[in-house]
Amino acid sequence: MGENASVLFRESGDGETLMSRDAGDRLVPDAWVAARTGLGMDGLGVMNLGVAAADRHACGPWAKMTALSFVTPDGAGMQDISYAELAHRSNRFANGLRALGVVRGERVFVLLERCPALYVAVLGALKAGAVVAPLSAAFGPEPIRVRLALGGAAVLVTDAPCYRDKLAPMRAQWPSLRQVLLVREADNKQELPGTIDLVEALAAADDTPPGIATGPDDPALLHFTSGTTGTPKGVLHGHGVGLNLFSSAREALDLHAADRFWCTADPGWVTGTAYGILAPLLHGATVVVDAGPFDARRWFEVLERARVSVWYSTPTAIRLLMRAHAAGVKLPRPTGLRVAASCGEPLDPGAVRWGERVLGRPFHDNWWQTETGAIMLANIPARQVTPGAMGRPLAGIEARVVHRKSGGGVTVIDTPEATGELALVAGWPSMFRDYLGAHDRYGACFADGLYLSGDLVRRDARGDYWFLGRADDVIKSSGHLIGPCEVERVLMAHPAVAEAAVIGLPDPTCGERVEAVVVGHAGATLDEALARTLLAHARTHLGAVMAPKRITFAAALPHTRSGKIMRRLLRARALGLPEGDLSMLEHAEVPNEP
């Protein structure tokens, strides 16, 4: 570390980082000090994400500025909510929660489509000091059931159809769940026992700030991510996540106040909350919201009509746009677009260049995970894009390429060309604080002061990082992480299924496609009708996003000697690849050559 009186640099394998002294005289990356200043949290140790996002722009000249701009259902116009209105409505929600007895640290789950109530509920619950857990409305009943139980939900905010169809039959399974607040359409007042109408619940609440003082270390967000074992992991973040959200949105997305920002990710997934709600509001930008399903032509109409200046999307959506474009759909170049970015899975070079040709802007790919809380590596707009690469570490983030040692610990690979697992020097502000109820799993993510990401990468001689794949069996499909065990467990709950293995196979559109190989119980007729029945069963319980797209049958599944399904071998067989090292294969289960 070299330093002199005025300018301080920290040298690492990725170059130099400008350093500053913070209010506590600690040496920290300059970008974080700038973010603290930008968020108005200098030296006070007070940080509330809801207040920082909704209230900081709600008085003075910025109060009338549009915070949220919704594409109306008919697609013809926009419905705007100002920063002042968002501040008042989220205050009212926070006070309403407090009146219902919600105390700091309790979990408030939000399961809503992209409607105004979603944004009000997330920000209001944060202001009340509650921990917000957003769930995707695309989930079927089973993933919802598991996550509500795991998170110990105290309050759930959802809409009437979702509650009626997915939750009401299982209500008794969540003893911790005290209140269900329903967002209802005015014309649908069907009585649903055990719920409260949101409007009625908030009728008596006032819209002054609730004044709950939280600090950067107090828990704020609970996101669920999939692992290779059966249960999803509840990733806990503190209010301090806002610091990296602010600095990364500036560096990786070039986001500024008055930008009109559209993030297409579902708010139930981490990107949709972090960058679809929080980061743009922290900057005083306008969040453009479109609740409709994907449609290429309509999306380009949104880009133009909503005057989107910064656009954040996913490779699957980009590839669908490319297909539509190739099939003759006219996609006129948006006139106001300044930056286009992508995350969730690696973006192929062709898609980056397609952006350049059709949008007039290349897609800037970046990398992060639920656990990292914010973008960590990126092709930043200030530098020329390396098509196909996931970029380089942002200011203050130190990345390493490591190999795990068999007895614990890691070896850092220092050579210019390095292949191995991506690790980050632990301790950045938005780093996750725990896996809820699984502290040992949290501990297992760290070694030698590094967070181990589970993603395999190559670092080239220029310092760009390239995604190679997951170190485990987790499937990356349409930007979502899908845990094979969670899908297998649902399939195995069907009486005809003895065993199931779920794998991801390469797909030109969604990255990896979820497929299942099923072993039937003796007596089950393994035919097309059963495959269809199982598909219906999986989709009903899991939802379309998580369920397999195809189900095939096998006489047996390959297992390791310790009894684990060798998904890697199934995948190799499905793709006609070499089967690799079979020394771990349990002999009795070796099936015939495919």
Binding site: R298, A327, L535
Partner: protein, 85 residues
Amino acid sequence: MNRDEIRAGVHETLARIAPEADLTAIRADRLLRRQIDLDSMDWLNVIVGLHERFGLDIPGRDYGRLGTLDEIVDYLVAHLGGERE
């Protein structure tokens, strides 16, 4: 191929991709994707399935006109009717 046969063929295509859907409860004049749980991949597979079932090329620029069951059936009737009836 008459309108009812076409509708039955569309149902069959949907049932293959989303076998859990109760197609008798679908409102034919409302957006299909608001009533059946279809992600982007499923929707693409519906289009491909219709192409295979009816032997009709559906150009990408027409996808936006196929939002409801009625729109799909109308589209197929208009493009198949002349040749097959």
